[in-house]
Structure formats: structure tokens, C-alpha cells
């Protein structure tokens, strides 16, 4: 199943670790909050995405199944 990265914007505290670990898909806005590439996660980046998810100090970054 195809997956995508999402952020829980309520939990996110702009630590910015995700953008350091996965600059291919995540950049930070001017206040330090992640802007995530909305397209499905390319399979070769999945291990890096999982690492970014587990490194988020507030557990705000989540890997979700895309519907359909």
C-alpha cells in the first residue's frame, strides 16, 4: 500500500529534526514548521521516513497509508 508522511500540526513544536533527516521531502517554513511533500512516499525513501518519524521528539510526524 502506498504511504505518505503527515504532521500533526497540534503536536508539532518546530524542532526541525525531520527536515534534517529527510530534506528530500520536508522543508521548514520561516517559523521552523515542516512543509511536507504531499505526493506518495517514494518506496526508496521509506527507511529514511521511518527514521524521521521515530526521531520526532513530540511524535508529531506520522506515516499513513494513502486511501485507495
Amino acid at each position: 500500500m502506498r504511504k505518505h508522511l503527515a504532521v500533526n500540526p497540534i503536536a508539532c513544536d518546530a524542532h526541525g529534526i525531520c527536515a534534517e533527516l529527510l530534506p528530500e521531502l520536508i522543508r521548514l517554513d520561516e517559523w521552523g514548521y515542516p512543509v511536507i511533500e504531499p505526493a506518495p512516499l517514494p518506496p526508496h525513501l521509506e527507511p529514511l521516513a521511518r527514521r524521521a518519524v521515530s526521531a520526532c521528539p513530540t511524535l508529531a510526524l506520522v506515516l499513513r497509508d494513502l486511501p485507495g
Binding site: I10, D29, Y33
Partner: protein, 424 residues
Amino acid sequence: MSRPVDNHLRPDAAQVPRLLALVGGSGLDAHFSRWGPVPGGGRALIAEVERSGLRGRGGAAFPTAVKMRSVLGRRQAVVVANGAEREPVSAKDKAVLTYAPHLVLDGVSMAAEAVGASEAVVCIDRSATEALSAVSRALTERSRAGADVVPIRIETTPSAYVTGEESALVHWLNGGPAKPTFVPPRPFEKGVRGRPTLVNNVETLAHLALVGRFGADWFRAVGCDAEPGTTLVTVNGAVTRPGVVEVPRGASLGSVVDRAAPAGPPQAVLVGGYSGTWVPYQPAAGVGLDSVSLGRLQASLGCASLTVLGPDSCGLAETAVAVRWMAAQSAGQCGPCVHGLPALADAFAGVVSGDRRGSALRRVNQLLPVITGRGACHHPDGVTRMVRSAMTVFASDIDNHRRQGPCRVRHGLLPAAPGAPSWR
């Protein structure tokens, strides 16, 4: 539905108003002698609602039957009637609660029976004192008469713009602040005390009460095919007779504005309030108040408020007021909303006050995509939508402000009541 309806009680289907029709008194007796008793439809009501094409009147226009089906299941559902109206330019929920409380409560009762709910809550903004006393009085009468199959209680909700957002309402009913939560799970999956929760706008429930009594065909006799029935519209701004009117869905915008007697030739109309869309009065006057017609103008009906901008007002200045107010109404949870909306309000104020070098306008354009779609709820999206529409509709004003500085026209069309939002 196979259940017969007393023909002598069935009103002429073409007659408008429906919800706001006078019933010859405010009490339960007058109500029942006008509309008949609450019919027991059970689950069959959902199919009838589906055939009626009833869509939510809270702003999103989601099909009501789909929502009802989503809470059917093993666990007993909770029905929440959403009357937490905090849109500064909308009063139609307060109006239906005040003038037709029994119709709303009929709808609550019937929806609860249809989805097998064991309790129902009517949420009313705590500053809406007239609506509150009308519904309290109505509930007292109903419990004496044993009119409802499930217990219905009133909860008075805190006064903040986002309180009426479904997840915020459920969060608050569960003891938290009236702030949106990260979804999913949505209220229909996990709502009040973890139970599947059907959240319907109070006007939607009043329509449902009539669909349950007189059937889908009766309901569809007015309005347009895709969006049948009547709709309550709040008209205000530069008009001499502001108020709430009930019109067929799809009635032309101009005909509704005319009923409110514009104070002068309107320039533009803000449709759907502070998270709505500005449309130029021409050609919008000839456009129907329904999603398809308004969609051609990149607008949607939203909460169905029409705020008329008169010939002497500045659309940019009014927009700046609204953006500033909406920024202050942020629940303060999501970074792009917390930081983005005040920055947008500052930048837009810069556009209004005379932006000779164009830097404020560039800043607005830079912020819009950064803010949009990044909150847990759609509060920031509503603001960016309104700003985008203002930049299109008032494009020539932006040029004038840029060349000549701020204009000297009258301000103060849009209300911007001071005071911080409350969350409990």
C-alpha cells in the same frame, strides 16, 4: 416512507418560508397543531433524508444522510445539535433556535431515533441569550409532554470562532478546551465519551424534522436539483433592513439582497462570512445561492451570510479588519496558524495603508500558500480564501492604494468585537 402523513397538516410544498413560518404561538401545542406530532420513523428516516437530498446547513453542505449512516453500528451513538454559531456576520442559527426551537428539537429527536442514539445534546453559544431561553422553555414543555424518545440536554458553548468546528465541539463536550483536534478519528468514529457522534447544524435538523413529516418529494418541491429545499440567509452590511430570511436554495443573490433594501448600489458581497469569499456585485447579483452557481465565481455559500459592501466602503480595509479578527481567534495550536495569521494581518494592513514599493503585497502573496492547508482544522484556510478573493475582487483598489496611499472612505462595515476568545 410508508407512514402516512395527515394531509390536512401538510403545508403547500411551494410555500416559503418553511422553518420560519409563523405557527400561531411559540408553545408546543401551537407547534404540534401546525406541523403535527413527531413522527416515529426509525431507521427508515435515513433513506427518506437521502432521497430528499438534504445537505448540511452549517457551511460544508455535506449530505446529511451519509453523515447519519456513518454513526450506525453496534455502539449507541450521541447526537449533537450544533448551534455554536460564532461567525460575526451570521445569525441564522440563533434565528432558527429562537423562532422555531420545537422544529430543531423535533429534528434532534428524530435523528436520534433514526441512528439509535441514546442521548442528545443541543450546543448553543452562551452569548445567544434569546436562543438559549427559547430552547430551554421548549425543552421544559417537551419533557412534560413526553415528546422526545431520548433525553435532550442543552450545553452552552464558549465564545470562540472555532467552537463550532466539529472536533472542537466534541473536545469541549469531553471536558477539554473548545479547540479542534487532529483528525482522524473524526467525531462519527470517536466522539462524545468515545462514542460515534452525529454532529448536525441546528438548521439542518429543523429541515430534517419536515422531511420526516412530509417526505422527500415535499422537501424537493423548492430549491434546485443538486441542493433542494430552502435555506436561511443572514443579510447585513450596507442594507437598511438587515436580518435573516428563508429562501429557496438557488434563489438569486440579488433578489435576496434586494429584500434587505441596500443603502446604495452595492460594490461587492462577502458570501459566507469571515472564512467566505468576496464576489463583485455584478455579475454575482444574477447568480443563484447554491454551490454550483457560486462555484463559477470561485465562491461557496458557506454559512449563507451575505454582507453587502456599499458604494462608500473600502473592501480592502474591511478585509484587513476581518483578517486581524480571525488571527486573534486562532486556537493557538498549530504553528502556521499561530504565526501565519498575524503575519498575514500585518501584511494586509500594509497593503491598505499604502504600499508604494509593493513589498506588503509581495509578503501577502508569499504567506498565502505557506498558511493554506497546514492547520489541524480549516480556520487558516478560510482566512486565506477570503484574502485571495479580496485580492481578485478589489484588484483595482490595490492599485489605487499603491499609487495614492490609503483611501478616505468610511470603515466599520465588518464587526470586529474586541476581546479574547474563551475556550471553556
